[in-house]
Amino acid sequence: MTMSGSARPEEGSKTPHPKPRIAVLKLASCDGCQLAFLGLGDKLLELSGQVEIVHFAEAGPLGPLTGLDITFIEGSLSTREDRDMVLSVRKESRFLVTIGACATSGGIQALRNLASGPLLSSLYPSPEVIDFLDQSTPVASLVPVDLELWGCPVTGDQILGSLRSLLFGALPPVQTDKVCLECKRRGIACVTVTKQIPCLGPVTLTGCGALCPSFDRGCYGCFGPAENPETSSLARSFSGLGLTPSEITRRYLFINSNAPAFLKEGRRWQGGDSHE
């Protein structure tokens, strides 16, 4: 965590200051988290009045990645090029923020970390032209990250809330609550209790507003493990709801398979071992 240095003075001074410089970058990803920026609508216009958006491919600007106040990175480290870019941009950024499951845990493509056998040749006709790293890994595995925003994708509220704090020069409070608390605050009936639907909500970080349970679906764990995730007890209850060990493994090894808590529990049930 790099929290040294004072806040960029924004107020109380007569001399004009340059606007904070912001970049939004992507590594291996689907661009969905960048869309969370674009989906801000009017707020994005308001934001562009307050900051200089130096680099944001999805929105147009492709300026140089130097002297940055806040850099948002989407996507996982998947190629050498990704690695070089992150190493370079870290040096140029006061705050480095990962946005989404890929940048924060390695993303759905981290499933390839678990694959055995020749993956490339089974997928591509000319695998020799593809140059990628052995594993898909989160940005924090390479450089210090100041703030991690989980989600698949992240939401506009997460971006705005954290951005405002960072513009003040402070890290925002980190959300650690579980999806269950959000379901209860929103008055959403528990899908497990009322319909026996397996749901990752009890071990997953909130931030989505309990989106899936509000549509009668169990949580998919897009926002990664919450604080103190009791993955084993939940897995045993999934078993009680009729999921097979391999189905339990797939629940955990999905969007955030590389997040340690999910990886551990998913592996525990691999090969039919229920560890009762």
């Binding site: 107020e11 951005l163 609550d177 579980k178 269950c180 605050r185 008055g187 528990c190 209790v193 071990v203």
Partner: protein, 371 residues
């Protein structure tokens, strides 16, 4: 103490109760079915109620099904009752604004609620209300939002005739019949309702309804019904007063058995009608000139609840579960003169892994190596 009036409201005249409340300016909430559960929402009349439905509740499971009676209240409870109406799950407490001269100004956000009438409140939830009144509404600093919403609340209670399998209000002394804290209370029979008043407001409304007096056979039928409701409850607490019984056993090995199952998800505390913990946070506006101060339901199962530099005092689930149960059943007595459990059984039903603390309590109170 207001003198109690009584009358008999035929089922065909049930609508008149709703109409009277509307005439008095109340927004009227009553039980309705939503997403397979019974919740309290605004209704236009008895036709919106879950008539004939029964709730099948077991630890970790809640299901509604058609029952045999055509009654309006042949079910025990849903996930919530009065708590979210008074202690909002999320509300803005104040807004901070930075003026042009740099000074900060604060404006409190007082809700201006419409007077609310709630039909169908059970004895357990009335007991819980009395506790949250003590917590939020009394003392030198009553919670302004709570007090405002509470002030004009009109409560129509219903004696519980069909406790769920998870209910144990008899053992906590809170039910199944409404004892106090209501404006009107209904005892439901197949032919209608025996209505009794519990406040001056209730007496007035009862007078407006101009009901015939109940027959003694009705009173007897209701008494039999209540006895049946009482005897149908199989779960119980070992004692109403467990003061010092749990706090003196912090290292009992059974806490670990509970922790091995507990998800630390906070569902139990969220549905508990007496749990009142909250957290607060700022939501700054993008322009950096104002910020909303929000309050949200929190839980003793979160890390933030016990956070003191350099980290949470209760990092592990076993400490959190122990904190919850020990506070609820044990040292709540020191704070409020009674246990914090009203026997509604919601924490059993709505626990995703079905922890039933009425089964665990005897083990926690027994000798570590057995009984």
């Amino acid at each position: 103490m207001t003198e109690e009036s009584r009358g008999f409201l035929e089922r065909e005249r049930f609508r008149e109760l709703f109409d009277r409340l509307v005439l008095r300016g109340y927004q009227t909430l009553a039980p309705v079915v939503r997403d397979g559960t019974i919740v309290y929402e605004e209704v236009s009349g008895p036709e919106d109620l879950p008539r004939g439905l029964r709730d099948l509740q077991t630890p970790g499971s809640y299901r509604l099904e058609a029952g045999e009676s055509g009654r309006f209240f042949s079910w025990a409870n849903g996930p919530q009752a009065l708590k979210p109406l008074l202690f909002a799950p999320r509300e803005i407490l104040w807004e901070t604004r930075r003026e042009s001269d740099g000074a900060l100004s604060f404006s409190s956000s007082s809700p201006s609620p419409r007077p609310l009438a709630v039909i169908g409140i059970r004895a357990c939830d009335l007991s819980a209300l009395a506790l949250s009144d003590r917590h939020f509404g009394k003392g030198p600093f009553p919670d302004p939002g709570y007090a405002l919403r509470r002030r004009d609340l009109f409560l129509v209670a219903v004696d519980c005739s069909h406790p769920a399998d998870t209910c144990f209000c008899v053992s906590t002394g809170d039910g199944p019949e409404a004892q106090s804290g209501f404006d009107l209370a209904l005892g439901e029979l197949d032919s209608g309702f025996l209505v009794r008043s519990g406040s001056e407001k209730g007496r007035e409304l009862l007078r407006e309804l101009s009901l015939p007096p109940p027959e003694s056979s009705m009173e007897e039928a209701l008494k039999r019904q209540a006895d049946q409701a009482r005897s149908s409850q199989t779960r119980r607490l070992p004692s109403r007063n467990l003061r010092n019984a749990l706090a003196s056993r912090p290292d009992h090995p059974h806490w670990n058995n509970l922790a091995a199952r507990c998800l630390s998800c906070g569902n139990c505390t969220s549905v508990c009608p007496t749990c009142f913990c909250f957290s607060e946070r700022e939501e700054p506006a993008l322009d950096g000139h104002s910020s909303l101060h929000l309050r949200e339901w929190d839980s003793c199962f979160t890390a933030g609840h016990s956070y003191i530099h350099p980290g949470p005092l209760r990092g592990e689930t076993r400490f959190r579960y122990r904190q919850w149960l020990t506070h609820k059943l044990d040292y709540w007595h020191d704070q409020y003169g009674r246990s914090g459990c009203v026997g509604c059984g919601r924490c059993l039903s709505w626990c995703p892994v079905g922890i039933d603390f009425t089964e665990d309590l005897p083990l926690l109170l027994g000798e570590p190596d057995g009984h």
